[in-house]
C-alpha cells in the first residue's frame, strides 16, 4: 500500500515555520481544525449486512401479517345500487324521467335483506360513481369566503363590480348573486333516502336517520358560516338567488331543523367536501344504536329503501348507491389494506428466506475475498 503522504502532514505545523516575519499568529491562514471543516464529523455509517437486513425482513413479515388479518376481519358493509339502469330495477322508471327541474318527485322502493345484524352505530352513505368531483374546473368552482359568511359576495352591486370570486363562473350570478355559488354547490346531491325495517309480521318500521354530526367539526364550525347579523336566514339571503339546479333556496334546505339551514347545512357541507376520486361515497346519515343495547341496530331481516329520485346520473353513466356500514376501531371496513398487509408481510418473509439462503451460499465467499490492489 502506498503511503498517504498527508498523514504526517496533519498538524505537522512546525513552530519555526509559522510564516514570514515572525507574525505567524497574525497572518496565519491555517484553516481551523474543526471536525466540520475537516470533514471528520462523527458519524454513524450503516451498511446493509445480513445481520441487519435479514432480521428486518422477518420482523416486517411477522408484524404485517397479523395487522392484515386484523384489518380484514373487522367491519360489515352492505351496498345497494339504486340507479335503475336495468329494466328490472325498481328505480328504472324514475331514472328515465329525470331532469333537474322536475317539480314532481319520483319515488321508488328498493327491497333488500340483511343476512347479518348490524351492531352498534350504522352509517348510511350515498355513493356516486363516474362522478368527477375532482375535476379541476369543478373543484375550483366555489367561493370559500362566501361560504364562510362573507356578506359582500352576496350583494349584487359588489359582485357585479367583479369584487367577488370569479371562480364560481358561470354559477356566480343569474340576475342576483347566487348563494351558494359555483358548480359544486349547484350540483348538490338531492335524493332523499329513507329506510324501513320489515318486521317478520309484515309491518314497516321507519328507522330513525340522524342527519346531524355527519360533517367534520371544523367544516361545520369554522369553514362554513352563515352570514352574520340576523338570525333570520331568509332576511340574510335576501337579494340572492338559489343555484339553478336547486329546488329550494339555501335557507330552506332542512325543513325540520332550522339550525341546519343556510351554508351550515350538513348535507351541503358534506357535498362541498369534494371527493378525491370519481367513485366516492358520502355520509348521508347515522343510524344510532339502540339505547338498551340489547337488540342490534339493524337486526337481520328484510328492509326497504325508499328513494326520492331526484338526482340525474344516467347522462354520464353514473351510478348511485346506498351503503350501510359499521365502523371498527380503525375506520370502515377496508379489505384492500388488510390483503395488502398480508401480502406484503408474506412477501417480506419469503424474501427474507430467499436472501438468507443466498447469503449462506454466497456470502462467505465474498467476505473472505480480498480487495484486489
Amino acid at each position: 500500500m502506498a503511503p498517504s503522504y498527508n498523514a504526517k502532514e496533519e498538524d505537522g505545523h512546525q513552530p519555526g515555520a509559522t510564516g514570514h516575519g515572525g507574525a505567524g499568529t497574525m497572518t496565519n491562514k491555517k484553516p481551523d481544525n474543526t471536525a466540520f471543516k475537516q470533514q471528520r464529523l462523527p458519524a454513524w455509517q450503516p451498511i446493509l449486512t445480513a445481520g441487519t437486513v435479514l432480521p428486518a425482513f422477518f420482523v416486517i413479515g411477522l408484524i404485517f401479517i397479523p395487522i392484515g388479518f386484523i384489518l380484514i376481519v373487522y367491519g360489515l358493509t352492505l351496498l345497494i345500487d339504486y340507479t335503475g339502469v336495468d329494466m328490472s330495477s325498481p328505480c328504472y322508471n324514475c331514472s328515465q324521467s329525470y331532469s333537474w327541474n322536475n317539480t314532481q318527485s319520483c319515488t321508488c322502493s328498493v327491497h333488500f335483506s340483511l343476512d347479518q345484524p348490524f351492531e352498534s352505530n350504522v352509517f348510511m352513505y350515498y355513493g356516486l360513481s363516474n362522478f368527477y368531483q375532482n375535476h379541476r374546473r369543478y373543484v375550483k368552482s366555489r367561493d370559500d369566503s362566501q361560504l364562510n359568511g362573507d356578506k359582500t359576495s352576496l350583494q349584487y352591486h359588489i359582485c357585479t363590480l367583479n369584487r367577488c370570486s370569479k371562480e364560481c363562473e358561470p354559477y356566480r350570478s343569474s340576475d342576483k348573486p347566487i348563494a351558494p355559488c359555483g358548480a359544486i354547490a349547484n350540483s348538490l346531491f338531492n335524493d332523499t333516502l329513507e329506510l324501513y325495517y320489515i318486521d317478520p309480521n309484515g309491518s314497516r318500521t321507519a328507522i330513525p336517520l340522524v342527519k346531524k354530526g355527519i360533517a367534520w367539526w371544523t367544516d361545520k364550525h369554522v369553514k362554513f358560516r352563515n352570514p352574520s347579523g340576523n338570525n333570520n336566514l331568509t332576511v340574510v339571503f335576501q337579494g340572492t338567488s338559489k343555484p339553478v339546479n336547486w329546488r329550494k333556496p339555501v335557507f330552506e334546505l332542512d325543513p325540520l331543523d332550522s339550525d341546519n339551514n343556510g351554508f351550515i347545512n350538513e348535507d351541503f357541507i358534506v357535498w362541498m367536501r369534494t371527493a378525491a376520486l370519481p367513485t366516492f361515497r358520502k355520509l348521508y346519515c347515522i343510524i344510532q344504536k339502540k339505547p338498551n343495547n340489547m337488540t342490534p341496530t339493524l337486526p337481520r331481516g328484510e328492509y326497504i329503501l325508499e328513494v326520492t329520485y331526484n338526482y340525474p346520473v344516467r347522462s354520464f353513466d353514473g351510478r348511485k348507491r346506498m351503503i350501510l356500514s359499521t365502523i371498527s376501531w380503525m375506520g370502515g371496513k377496508n379489505p384492500f389494506l388488510g390483503i395488502a398487509y398480508i401480502t406484503v408481510g408474506s412477501v417480506c418473509f419469503c424474501l427474507g428466506l430467499v436472501l438468507l439462503s443466498i447469503h449462506y451460499r454466497y456470502g462467505k465467499r465474498n467476505n473472505s475475498a480480498e480487495i484486489s490492489s
Partner: protein, 1153 residues
C-alpha cells in the same frame, strides 16, 4: 519613491483594426496615444453599481432554466390554463434569482478588488512625462514588454530569468543597443530621448522580435536580444531603463496565455442533455394527458357538462390541458436543481479551502478553490498534465554526493559542521564527515576535485561585504557545485577575464585563466585551462560521464569502472551527475594551441567547426577525478503522489520546456520512469539517436515516450528531413495513438502554446477529463485549456495561480485534491443528482397517474402549498446535507485504495444509464405512492363514519406518503450519518408536520380564506389509524425492493467500495478497541539498481564562456544610480542569507485575498 509611482493603466481600449505594424516614439505621449494601443490595465469585472441590477437580471434570464420558469409564470397567469397558483413558481424563482444575484455581486466585488490590485502594481515611471519609459529594479517581475535602453551593468547587459515564460531557470543575458546604452541613467538624456520604434504587431512568439529604432535619423535594427518580456525577472542587475513596446494584453506572455473559456463539467453537460431529454419526456407526458383529456371531454365531459362550468370543445380543452400539465409536471426539472447544484459545489469548494492537510505551513498557504463550479470533475480525472520545474521539483539544486578517486561520499550520516570555514555558505548541507576530513587532511585528489569545481564554471561572484559572497550562476547546477567547493574550502572569490581568485583552504590563490572551452549541447562538457601560481598548466573538464569517459587516459580504466558504478548508483537515485577530469598540459603545446585557437576564433567561416575540432584535440587523455551528484530536489512526496495517482489509473504526462535530459532525470527520480520501461522512441529535432524512429515535433521540440517492456512499436517513419508539425492535423492522431500506448509520457522543449495543444489534443480525441498542473506563466495556457487547471502557488509568481481553478502550495496535495475531495465531490454530486431526480420524478409521476382519475383535468394531487414548499423546504436541507457531508469511505481508505477513484473516471455513478434506472425506480415508487393510497382509501371512511376520501384528505395522505418515502430513500442513500443529517432529516419532517398543522389551522384559514382552504384536514385525517397504516405500507413497499436489491448486489457483485466499506466498518470498530492500528505507510522504494543509465543533466546554455573571457560579464565600477532614486536595494536582498541562488525565496504578494 512615492512621487514617481503611478498607476499603470486606465481603461482598456478596444482595437478594431488588426495591427500591421507598431509605431511608437519615446517621450511623445500624443503620438503614442493616437494609436490606441492596448493599455497595461486589465479589466475583469463585469458590473458597476448602476448596471448591476438590469445586466444581472438580463444575464440570468438568458439562462435557459430561468427563462423557462419565467415562461411558466406567464402560463400561470392565464386563468384557463393555470393549474397552480402563481406563488408556486414565483417563490422559488425569486429565491433563486436573489441568491444568484448575491453570489454574482460578491464575485464581481472580488474582481473589482483584484483588478485594482493588479493595476496598481508599482513600477517607477520616468518623469519628464512619459508613460512608456520605465525604470526597473533588481528582482522585479516585468509587467510589460520593454525595449531595453540602458542598464547599470557594463555594456548595457541585463540578466533575466525566464522561468515564468519557459520554465528554464538559468539566467539569460540581454543587451541594449550601444546608442541607447549611452543614455545611462541620466534623467535629462532619457527625457530627451526621442527614438522612434517600429516593430511587429503583438504576437505570441517568445523567441522572435523584429523592429527598428530610429534615433537622430539613424536606424538601428532591433531583435530579441533587446527586448525584455513581461514575466521575466531581473537578476544581477541593479536597474535598467526600458521603453514599453507592448502593454497589458498585447504582451507576448499574455498572447501566449490562450483563451479563457468558461469551463463546464462533464456532469454539467450530461445534465444539460438530460434536462433536454426530460423536457422531451415532459412534453410526451403532457401530450398523453392532453390527448386523454380530449377523449375524456369528448366522451364524458360533454355528458357531464351539466355539472361542469365553462365547457369548451374537446380539442381546445386538450390544448389548454396540455399547458396546464406543463405547469404541473414542470417539477421534473425544478428550479431548485440548479441552485442546489451550485450550493453543493460551493460547499465542496469550501472544504478544499478549509482542508488543513492541504495547507502548507512554510508559506502559510492553504489550498484554494478559485473556481467553485468544477468540483465533481475532480473525481473524474483521467489525464494529468504536469509542468516540471517548480511543480514536481522545488527548483533547488543541492550537491548531494560525489565520488572521488573511486570512493563514494555522501551517504547520509550526520550533518557536517562547516564552521571552520568562515566563507562557507550557512545554507549548504552535507551529511558525510569523511569528505571534510579528507579535504582538511589534504588528500590531493579530493583537493583537486574541489579545485576543479571552484575553477571550471562560469559563475559570477559578488561580494557585497567582506566575506559575504553571492554567486550568480547561469544554471542552478553550477551554482550548487561551486557552492559545494566553497564550503569544502575552495572558495571561488572573484574573477576577471584573465584571472580567477580562489581561497584554497584559507589561502588566497590566483589562477590565470587561459581559455574557456564553452559548454554546448553537443559537447556536453566544458573545460577551462588555467595556469596556477606555480606556473603549472592544467585543463579542468566537467561534463556528461559518457563524454568524459571517451576522452580519458587509458590508465584510468580501473578508476573508470569504480566511478561508473558510483555513477549508476547516483543515477539510480535520480541524481544529476557530472564526471570531472583534468589534464596537465605541456606549456609549449599550449602556446601552439592558443595560437591556433586565436586563429580559429577570428576565422570568418566555419568558425564553430574549427573551434570544435580544437577543443576536441585538447580534451583528450584526461585524468578522471570523480563525479558529482546533484539533486534536483523534488518537492516532498512527489514520487508517492505519482504512484498513488497512477494506482488510481490516472495517466500523468509531464510537459516541460526544459531539456530532455533534465526531464528524463526527474522522470526517474519521481518514479514515473522505471528501469523496466523501455524507451520505444524518442522524437528529436532532426536526427534519431537510439533505436528510434523520429517524428519532428516542432523545431527544437522533442518528445520522449517510454513504454513498459517489449511491444516494439513500429510506426510508419515519417520523413525526417521535412518539417512536419506533430501538432498539426496529419500527425496528431499518430502522436496521440502512440502516446496513449505508453505508460509515461514526457514532452520536452514544448512551448507554452504547445502545452495547451497537447492538452487540447487529448481532450478532443480521448473524451477524458484532463487536469493540468503548473506553477509558472508558461503553464497558463495549458491550465486554461485543461478541464481543470491547478496552480502551484510556488516560487514563480502568481500567473498560474491566477488563471487556475484550484491552487495550493505543494504538488503532493494533488492526491488529496483528487482522491479525497474530488472523489467525494463526484460521489456527492452523483448521489445528489440521482436522489434529486428520484424525488422529483416520483413527485411528478403521481400527478401523471392522478390524471387518469380526474378526467385529465390537470388537477393536482397535492396541496398547492406542498408543491411550493416540497423542493424548497421539505426536502432541500436533507438532500443538501447528504450531498455536502456524505462519505462512502473516509479519506484514509481513499488513500489506501486509490482504485476507489476509478468509478469516477468511468462515469459510473451518474450516467444516462443510471438516470434511466432512477426514472424507473421513481416510476415504481410513484405507482406505489399513488395506487396504494388510492386502493386503501377509495372505499373507506373515518373511525367516526365521516368521509376520508375527500380530495383534501387524499392530498394530505399522498403528500405525506411521498415525503416519508423520499425521506427513507434519502436515509438509504446516506452512508455517513452525522448529527447534521439526522437533524435536517428529522427537522424537515417535523417542519412538514408543523407547517401542515399551521396552514390547515383555523387562524390561517380565517386570515386568508382563499389561500388556505385545507382547514382542518390535518387534524381530521392524521388521527386516523388507517391513514398511518397506509403510510407505513407505502413506505415499506417503496423501500423493500431497493433494500433487497442493494443487499443482493453487495452480496453477489460487491464493488470495491462495498468491500472497503465493509472492511472499514470492521476496521473502525477494531480501532476503537485499540486492537488494530492502520498499517504503517510503506516507504516507496525509489532506488533503481539495474541498468546503466546516465544521470547526466545540466541546465546550461552555450555562450557563457565567451562572456566570461571577453570580460563583458565583469563589473567595472558599478554605476551608482542617480540620487533622485534614493532607494538602493530591496530590503529583502540585504536580509537574504548567502546563497548561490537567492531567487527562490522571493515571492510575489498574492494578488487576491
Amino acid at each position: 519613491m512615492g512621487s514617481l509611482l503611478s498607476q499603470l493603466g486606465l481603461e482598456c481600449g478596444g482595437k478594431d483594426v488588426r495591427e500591421k505594424e507598431r509605431h511608437l516614439r519615446a517621450n511623445d505621449r500624443e503620438l503614442n496615444l493616437s494609436y490606441k494601443y492596448a493599455d497595461n490595465a486589465i479589466k475583469t469585472s463585469k458590473y458597476n453599481i448602476f448596471t448591476f441590477l438590469p445586466l444581472n437580471l438580463f444575464e440570468q434570464f438568458q439562462r435557459l432554466a430561468n427563462a423557462y420558469f419565467l415562461f411558466l409564470l406567464c402560463l400561470q397567469s392565464i386563468p384557463e390554463v393555470s393549474s397552480l397558483p402563481w406563488y408556486t413558481t414565483v417563490v422559488p424563482l425569486v429565491l433563486v434569482l436573489s441568491m444568484t444575484m448575491a453570489k454574482d455581486s460578491s464575485d464581481d466585488m472580488n474582481r473589482h478588488r483584484c483588478d485594482k490590485q493588479v493595476n496598481n502594481r508599482k513600477v517607477e515611471i520616468l518623469i519628464g512625462g512619459d508613460l512608456s519609459l520605465i525604470l526597473l529594479y533588481l528582482s522585479l517581475l516585468l509587467q510589460a514588454d520593454l525595449l531595453l535602453l540602458s542598464s547599470s551593468e557594463p555594456l548595457n547587459l541585463v540578466y533575466i530569468e525566464t522561468a515564468e515564460l519557459d520554465g528554464e531557470t538559468n539566467l539569460k543575458v540581454k543587451q541594449a543597443l550601444t546608442v541607447t546604452g549611452k543614455l545611462e541613467d541620466s534623467i535629462e538624456k532619457l527625457a530627451n530621448f526621442n527614438g522612434e520604434v517600429r516593430c511587429e504587431p503583438p504576437n505570441n512568439r517568445l523567441d522572435k522580435f523584429t523592429g527598428t529604432l530610429t534615433l537622430n535619423g539613424e536606424t538601428y535594427s532591433l531583435d530579441n536580444e533587446r527586448i525584455l518580456l513581461r514575466g521575466c525577472t531581473l537578476r544581477n542587475t541593479q536597474w535598467c531603463f526600458g521603453l514599453v513596446v507592448f502593454g497589458g494584453p498585447d504582451t507576448k506572455l499574455m498572447q501566449n496565455c490562450g483563451r479563457t473559456t468558461f469551463k463546464r463539467t462533464s456532469i454539467d453537460r450530461l445534465m444539460n442533455v438530460l434536462v433536454l431529454n426530460i423536457f422531451g419526456f415532459l412534453m410526451i407526458m403532457c401530450l398523453i394527458l392532453a390527448i386523454g383529456n380530449g377523449i375524456w371531454e369528448y366522451q364524458e365531459g360533454s355528458k357531464f357538462a351539466a355539472f361542469l362550468p365553462k365547457g369548451v370543445n374537446a380539442p381546445f380543452s386538450a390544448f389548454l390541458t396540455f399547458w396546464s400539465y406543463v405547469i404541473i409536471l414542470n417539477t421534473v426539472v425544478p428550479i431548485s436543481l440548479y441552485i442546489s447544484v451550485e450550493i453543493i459545489r460551493l460547499g465542496n469548494s469550501f472544504y478544499i479551502n478549509w482542508d488543513r492537510k492541504m495547507y502548507y505551513p512554510k508559506s502559510d498557504t492553504p489550498a484554494e478553490a478559485r473556481t467553485t463550479t468544477l468540483n465533481e470533475e475532480l473525481g473524474q480525472i483521467k489525464y494529468i498534465f504536469s509542468d516540471k520545474t517548480g511543480t514536481l521539483t522545488q527548483n533547488i539544486m543541492t550537491f548531494n554526493k560525489c565520488s572521488i578517486n573511486g570512493k563514494s561520499y555522501g551517504e547520509p550520516w550526520q550533518k557536517v559542521d562547516f564552521s571552520w570555514n568562515n566563507l562557507a555558505d550557512p545554507k549548504f548541507c552535507f551529511h558525510d564527515n569523511s569528505l571534510v576530513e579528507e579535504v582538511r587532511e589534504g588528500n590531493p585528489e579530493v583537493q583537486a576535485f574541489f579545485r576543479l569545481l571552484a575553477l571550471c564554471h562560469t559563475v559570477m561572484p559578488e561580494e557585497k561585504k567582506e566575506g559575504e559572497l553571492y554567486y550568480q550562476a547561469q544554471s542552478p547546477d553550477e551554482g550548487a557545485l561551486v557552492t559545494a567547493a566553497r564550503n569544502f574550502g575552495f572558495v571561488f572569490r572573484s574573477r576577471t577575464p584573465e584571472r580567477i581568485t580562489v581561497v584554497e583552504m584559507g589561502e588566497l590563490v590566483t589562477y590565470e585563466l587561459l581559455a574557456v572551452l564553452d559548454f554546448n549541447n553537443v559537447r556536453k562538457r566544458m573545460s577551462v585551462i588555467v595556469r596556477s601560481p606555480e606556473g603549472k598548466l592544467t585543463l579542468y573538464c566537467k561534463g556528461a560521464d559518457t563524454i568524459i569517459f571517451e576522452r580519458l587516459n587509458p590508465s584510468c580504466s580501473n578508476l573508470t569502472e569504480v566511478t561508473t558504478e558510483h555513477l549508476n548508483e547516483f543515477a539510480g537515485e535520480g541524481l544529476r551527475t557530472l564526471a570531472l577530469a583534468y589534464k596537465d598540459i605541456d606549456p609549449e603545446y599550449m602556446e601552439d594551441w592558443k595560437l591556433r585557437h586565436h586563429e580559429a576564433n577570428t576565422a570568418m567561416d566555419e568558425r564553430e567547426e574549427k573551434l570544435d575540432a580544437l577543443y576536441e584535440e585538447i580534451e583528450k587523455g584526461l585524468q578522471l577525478l570523480g563525479s558529482t551528484a546533484v539533486e534536483d530536489k523534488l518537492q516532498d512526496g512527489v514520487p508517492q503522489t505519482i504512484e498513488q495517482l497512477s494506482k488510481a489509473d490516472i495517466k500523468i504526462w509531464v510537459l516541460t520546456g526544459d531539456k530532455q535530459e533534465t526531464a528524463e532525470n526527474i522522470g526517474y527520480s519521481c518514479n514515473m520512469l522505471r528501469d523496466e520501461m523501455n524507451e520505444v522512441f524518442i522524437v528529436l529535432k532532426h536526427h534519431s539517436t537510439w533505436n528510434s524512429i523520429s517524428l519532428v515535433f516542432h523545431e527544437q521540440s522533442f518528445i520522449t515516450f517510454l513504454l513498459p517492456i517489449p511491444p516494439h512499436l513500429t510506426l510508419p517513419p515519417p520523413s525526417l528531413s521535412t518539417q512536419a508539425f506533430a501538432l498539426e492535423k496529419d500527425m496528431e492522431m499518430e502522436l496521440l495513438r502512440t502516446a496513449c500506448m505508453c505508460q509515461t509520457v514526457i514532452c520536452c522543449r514544448v512551448t507554452p502554446l504547445q502545452k495547451a495543444q497537447v492538452v487540447e489534443l487529448v481532450k478532443k480525441y480521448k473524451q477524458a477529463v484532463t487536469l493540468a498542473v503548473g506553477d509558472g506563466a508558461n503553464d497558463v495556457s495549458m491550465i486554461k485549456a485543461a478541464h481543470i487547471g491547478v496552480g502551484i502557488s510556488g516560487q514563480e509568481g502568481m500567473q498560474a495561480v491566477l488563471s487556475s481553478d484550484y491552487s495550493f502550495a505543494q504538488f503532493r496535495y494533488l492526491q488529496r485534491l483528487l482522491l479525497v475531495h474530488g472523489r467525494w465531490s463526484y460521489l456527492r454530486m452523483c448521489k445528489f443528482l440521482r436522489y434529486f431526480f428520484y424525488k422529483n420524478f416520483t413527485f411528478t409521476f403521481v400527478h401523471f397517474w392522478y390524471g387518469f382519475f380526474c378526467g385529465f383535468s390537470a388537477q393536482t394531487v397535492y396541496d398547492e402549498w406542498f408543491i411550493t414548499l416540497y423542493n424548497l423546504v421539505y426536502t432541500a436541507l436533507p438532500v443538501l446535507s447528504l450531498s455536502l457531508l456524505d462519505q462512502d469511505v473516509n479519506d484514509w481508505w481513499s488513500f489506501q485504495y486509490p482504485q476507489l477513484y476509478t468509478p469516477g473516471q468511468l462515469n459510473q455513478y451518474f450516467s444516462k444509464r443510471a438516470f434511466v434506472y432512477t426514472v424507473l425506480h421513481s416510476g415504481y415508487s410513484s405507482l406505489v405512492l399513488f395506487f396504494i393510497p388510492w386502493a386503501a382509501m377509495y372505499d373507506t371512511v373515518r373511525d367516526d363514519g365521516k368521509e376520508i376520501v375527500d380530495y383534501q384528505s387524499f392530498a394530505l395522505l399522498a403528500q405525506t406518503c411521498l415525503l416519508i418515502a423520499v425521506s427513507i430513500q434519502l436515509g438509504l442513500d446516506t452512508h455517513y450519518w452525522t448529527a447534521v443529517n439526522q437533524f435536517f432529516l428529522w427537522g424537515s419532517l417535523s417542519v412538514y408536520f408543523a407547517v401542515i398543522f399551521t396552514m390547515y389551522s383555523n387562524g390561517m384559514f380565517l386570515t386568508l380564506i382563499s389561500s388556505f382552504p385545507f382547514i382542518g384536514t390535518a387534524r381530521n385525517s392524521l388521527n386516523q389509524p388507517n391513514v398511518w397504516l397506509t403510510m407505513l405500507l407505502t413506505s415499506i413497499l417503496c423501500v423493500l425492493p431497493v433494500v433487497a436489491y442493494r443487499f443482493l448486489r453487495i452480496l453477489l457483485w460487491p464493488t470495491i467500495n462495498d468491500k472497503v466499506r465493509g472492511r472499514g466498518s470492521t476496521h473502525l470498530s477494531l480501532v476503537r478497541q485499540d486492537k488494530v492500528l492502520p498499517p504503517a505507510p510503506r516507504r516507496v522504494q525509489a532506488r533503481r539498481t539495474s541498468t546503466r543509465r546516465s544521470g547526466y543533466a545540466f541546465s546550461h546554455a552555450q555562450g557563457y564562456g565567451d562572456l566570461v573571457t571577453s570580460g563583458k560579464f565583469l563589473r567595472r565600477t558599478p554605476k551608482s544610480r542617480p540620487a533622485l532614486f534614493s532607494q538602493t536595494d530591496s530590503p529583502l536582498a540585504q536580509t537574504q542569507p548567502q546563497s548561490y541562488r537567492t531567487i527562490s525565496e522571493w515571492e510575489e504578494p498574492p494578488l487576491s485575498p
